[in-house]
């Protein structure tokens, strides 16, 4: 089947334009229906009792008093859910072990972090539910907690999961119980030989604090378990089918007995893929016979849902005097959190992904410890890795006396470069972003004044493809209703509709995109992995081709000619003697056999990886250690850009989160493993007064394997900021920072240490 690329030249009519989003009015007026806006007759309010201890054995749970409180309709604990065997379920971007998922949803025998769910109540209102929680008696036997990844790897560390076995590469010295869930080793060439050839070698150690995705909408789920055994869930989720599958597996229901309606979603960034409260709402509904809405409060979100890993990373790089990298060695330990999480995997892939290293070794560990089970966060694992690798790259460039962008250009990965984990790159755009950054006026602009400096940094994300389905109905007025399963987090209704519109030769406004429940569209993976515009857009393209084929046949019928004689170009169907626009023909389809529906399901291969190069100017206050961002330029290979405003918005949004990660955000733990800053006041995310104007510069290196050349855009922009800002701080005050966040106390301490060393 012809792709649009083959049927048309380079000039697109919809792609590359900036139509106003379809759901914009609902968003600015507060009419859009998010998970917590769902109301059902007889709705009960669910609340979850959470562990006050970071690590404890549960001796007993007594819910009797809570059950007797008037206004309480149901109380549940792990006794209400059958245990699961250790079995993996695929979730699109990642997979999940059902035993651990089940124990994370409701703790069984042990609690593994402060905030671990222990029991839940459904009551007539939230106040009664909260009062009932206080009446549940849990007898805990507190155990020692461990929250620093290197401590959790020690032989005498408290063990969280007694029967945990290390997966992956063998660990020769490991014996007995362990917290190491996974051990990864990638290697390429011969690093000993490589380092022996090096003229300069630099080795550094890096720490990153745990940070949270920080989506402002708390997790919320409303469940109605009907007497006929059908379960309906309205959820805030990045993937309705993923939510359906996990819930069905945990509750031992066939997926066909569960309907998940994805509501509008108030952010996710990777953190709304795993289920937490959906099965709890379902069980409370089953027990009470009423619909139940479970809503997390903000502390629950911080303490009980996936942050992204804290980490320890050691990176060693060697280069020749001429600036050629010859060897790299990385040793990386990432928090898994309470259960194996595997974000170390992409971390290991990403650490050297920007460079052509002839000899490399990467060793990684996924380490269980007393924090919430970690989850994906925008390019999961890559930002920690980029901070480490890019900082060493900067130091090497300085030592060799080479301009930092020039040094990167000498070693940049390109088509054919083989990463240490195996794959060789297809067409990629790192070199283009570096050249564009070097030529950008920001890079050569004068930066004057004390304590000011400029830094650069690169980042990589692999992006995902996965499965997407759409159906598209042609309406008699020439509009097309686009039915899709991809939760719209930041404008994908429009970016997908634009690809359908381009293919059909109609306007974006003539497409009516609808995100529907799991019974109303084919299987679609999560909105995550920067895959939605890429893969669901691809499905929309294919559905449009299906429509064109069917409408050409109708035109032939109408014109009494062979379908082969009908051609289609930019919204016009024509034969030798006839022509009808898409809209005109749409008006006649009811006379010629009825409705036309295009369908497509894709398993999108040919994913295009994305790279970014960022430039940042900072000013450091030597008294307080506060770092102010003066100017920020983010260059990114975006593949073919569908909607420039959305691509720019993704870049800017990623940078804002990267700035927060670099300068402020962290989980602060006390000695007993309790998070001390579980509020939006104390866990400080950037506001309008913290960020400067961020200039996005989009380089378009189209992905040759997508019908419209799309690459994922959303994740990579979070990766370069910490390293780029670290480099800028060094150039401002002459001090290298090796720990995130580079918050005022840490920068201040570094300045004091430096002064006392002199």
């Amino acid at each position: 089947m012809a792709t649009a690329n083959e049927t048309k030249t380079s000039s697109y009519r919809v792609i590359g334009t900036r139509p106003i989003r379809h759901d914009g009015v609902d968003k600015v007026t507060g009419r859009a229906v998010y998970g917590n806006d769902v109301q059902l007759p007889g709705l009960l309010y669910g609340r979850v009792l959470r562990s006050p201890h970071a690590h404890a054995r549960i001796r007993s749970i007594d819910t009797t008093k809570a059950e007797k409180l008037p206004g309480v309709f149901a109380v549940i604990s792990s006794a209400d859910i059958d245990p699961h065997e250790s079995k993996m379920a695929e979730l699109g971007e990642g997979s999940v072990n059902l035993q651990y998922l089940c124990e994370n949803v409701l703790a069984r025998k042990k609690v593994l972090y402060k905030g671990h769910a222990v029991a839940a109540v459904a009551a007539v209102n939230a106040h009664v539910a909260e009062e009932a929680l206080k009446l549940i008696e849990v007898d805990y036997d507190p155990l020692h907690a461990v929250t620093w990844v290197l401590d959790a790897m020690k032989d005498d560390a408290p063990i969280l999961i007694d029967d945990l076995k290390t997966e992956g590469a063998p660990l020769p010295h490991s014996k007995g119980p362990t917290n190491i869930a996974q051990h990864i080793v990638f290697s390429k060439g011969d690093i000993e030989k490589g380092f022996a050839e090096a003229d300069v070698i630099i080795e550094r150690e890096f720490k990153s604090a745990t940070v949270h995705q920080g989506y402002i909408e708390p997790h919320v789920a409303t469940a109605l378990w009907s007497p006929d055994g059908h379960l309906s869930i309205w959820a805030s989720t990045q993937g309705s089918f993923t939510c359906r599958q996990q819930t069905a597996e945990l509750l031992a229901l066939p997926v066909s007995k569960v309907t998940v309606t994805p509501c509008e979603i108030g952010g996710g960034f990777g953190g709304k893929i795993r289920v937490y409260i959906e099965p709890i709402a379902a069980l409370l509904s089953k027990k009470s016979g009423r619909p139940v809405k479970v809503l997390m409060n903000r502390a629950d979100v911080f303490e009980s849902t996936g942050p992204t890993p804290g980490s320890f990373i050691r990176v060693k790089l060697g280069a020749k005097r001429d600036g050629r990298l010859v060897a790299g060695d990385a040793w990386m330990a990432y928090d898994a959190g309470a259960y194996p999480a595997g974000i170390i995997g992409p971390g290991c892939v990403c650490v050297f992904s920007c460079y052509d290293l002839p000899n490399a070794r990467v060793e990684g560990f996924d380490v269980v410890l007393n924090k919430p089970q970690t989850a994906a966060y925008r390019a999961p694992g890559s930002t920690n890795a980029a901070f480490a690798c890019e900082t060493v790259i900067e130091e090497l460039a300085e030592k060799l006396g080479i301009d930092p962008i020039e040094f990167r250009l000498k070693n940049a990965a390109k088509e054919g470069t083989r990463r240490p984990d195996g794959p060789a790159y297809p067409v990629i755009g790192l070199v283009e972003t570096l050249k564009t950054a070097k030529a950008h006026p920001h890079y050569s602009a004068t930066l004057e004044g004390p304590n000011r400096g400029r830094g650069v940094g690169c980042g990589f994300w692999m992006n995902a493809g996965l499965k997407s389905s759409v159906t598209a109905h042609v309406n008699g007025d020439g509009t097309v209703t686009l039915v899709e399963g991809s939760t719209d987090i930041g404008g994908t209704r429009t970016s997908i509709a634009m690809q359908l519109a381009e293919t059909l030769g109609i306007t974006a406004e003539e497409v009516v995109p609808r995100v529907v429940d799991t019974d109303s569209v084919g299987y679609t993976d999560v909105t995550g992995g920067s895959r939605t515009t890429f893969a669901t857009g691809w499905a929309a393209h294919d559905a449009a081709i299906d429509i064109v084929k069917q409408m050409s046949a109708r035109a032939a019928e109408f014109w009494k000619c062979s379908p082969d004689e009908v051609t289609f170009d930019r919204g016009l169907f024509s034969s030798k003697s006839h022509a009808l626009t898409f809209k005109e023909l749409a008006g006649k389809i009811q006379e010629t056999g009825g409705t036309i529906t295009g369908r497509a399901s894709v398993e999108a291969k040919g994913v295009g990886a994305t790279f970014g190069t960022h430039i940042v100017d900072v000013e450091v206050d030597p008294e307080t250690g506060k770092v102010k961002i003066l100017r920020y330029t983010a260059v990114q290979d975006c593949g073919r850009v569908i909607h420039p405003s959305y691509a720019e918005g993704q870049i800017q949004g990623g940078v804002v989160q990267g700035i927060g990660w670099a300068l402020n955000e962290e989980y602060v733990y006390d000695a007993d493993g309790r998070m001390r800053n579980a509020s939006m006041l104390d866990y400080r995310m950037p506001t309008a007064v913290d960020v400067p104007t961020i200039e996005p510069v989009m380089v378009e290196v189209p992905n040759p394997r997508h019908p419209y050349g799309v690459r994922g855009v959303g994740e990579v922009p979070i990766c370069p900021p910490p390293a780029a800002i670290g480099a800028a701080i060094y150039n401002a005050i002459g001090i290298r920072m090796y720990e995130l966040p580079m918050s005022p106390p840490k920068v201040c301490q570094a300045i004091i240490n430096e002064a006392s060393a002199k």
Binding site: V28, R31, I489, S645, G649, Q652
Partner: protein, 205 residues
């Protein structure tokens, strides 16, 4: 910048007591479920605080009545009792701005005020900023400039901006920026909001 709220309680002891036996307040989610509500209400416990009282709130130009316990915040009253959902519940602690509403034209975190305190005042949510089917000029520009991604914080930002402009039509770009420094947008659409502020304040319009 959020104005300090008036915390003077205008409800006398009598009014508290008056409502205490009438537990009809409980779970008055939409008005379409009288039977279910009554069922829940019958089972509602004697509250650990004063019982429910009949209150009337003027919300987005409509007088809405409900029976609400004095401990219920304005935000929860709007969302869970009056089915007005434009103000969003995010932190419930006055730290994020997503629940910003106008009280007599001033921006207030609805999570940090009790519903009973809001009686007799004019409450406006993002929904109520519209004139009929027409968007408020701020909403129109937010929409055109695409100053939202997920949209969850948007009603709060729009209302905070409306408050500062209502108070000072000549507000500067910096005034606008300060007006939203108590609001968090995690999608990071600040750049688009800056464009909105520029247009609203005539700078670069």
């Amino acid at each position: 910048m959020v104005e300090p709220i008036d915390t003077t309680m205008r409800l006398g002891r009598r009014s508290f007591l008056k409502g205490s036996g009438v537990a009809a307040a409980a779970a008055t989610v939409a008005g379409t479920m009288a039977e279910e509500v009554a069922h829940g209400a019958d089972a509602a416990p004697p509250s650990s605080g004063p019982g429910a009282v009949e209150i009337t709130l003027s919300v987005d130009g409509k007088e809405l009545k409900s029976s609400i316990e004095p401990r219920v915040t304005l935000l929860d009253a709007l969302r869970d009792y009056l089915n007005v959902t434009a103000a969003k519940r995010v932190c419930d602690r006055g730290t994020c701005g997503a629940c910003t509403v106008l009280i007599d034209g001033k921006s207030i975190y609805a999570c940090s005020m009790l519903a009973i305190e809001a009686q007799g005042k004019k409450i406006t949510t993002a929904r109520g900023l519209m004139k009929g089917d027409e968007l408020h000029p701020i909403q129109q520009i937010f929409w055109e400039k695409d100053a939202s991604q997920c949209g969850f914080c948007t009603p709060g930002f729009v209302t905070a901006c409306a408050a500062v402009l209502a108070k000072n039509p000549k507000a500067t770009f910096e005034d606008m920026k300060r007006a939203v420094d108590g609001n968090i947008c995690r999608c990071g659409t600040y750049e688009q909001m800056f464009q909105v502020f520029e247009q609203l304040t005539g700078k670069g319009a």
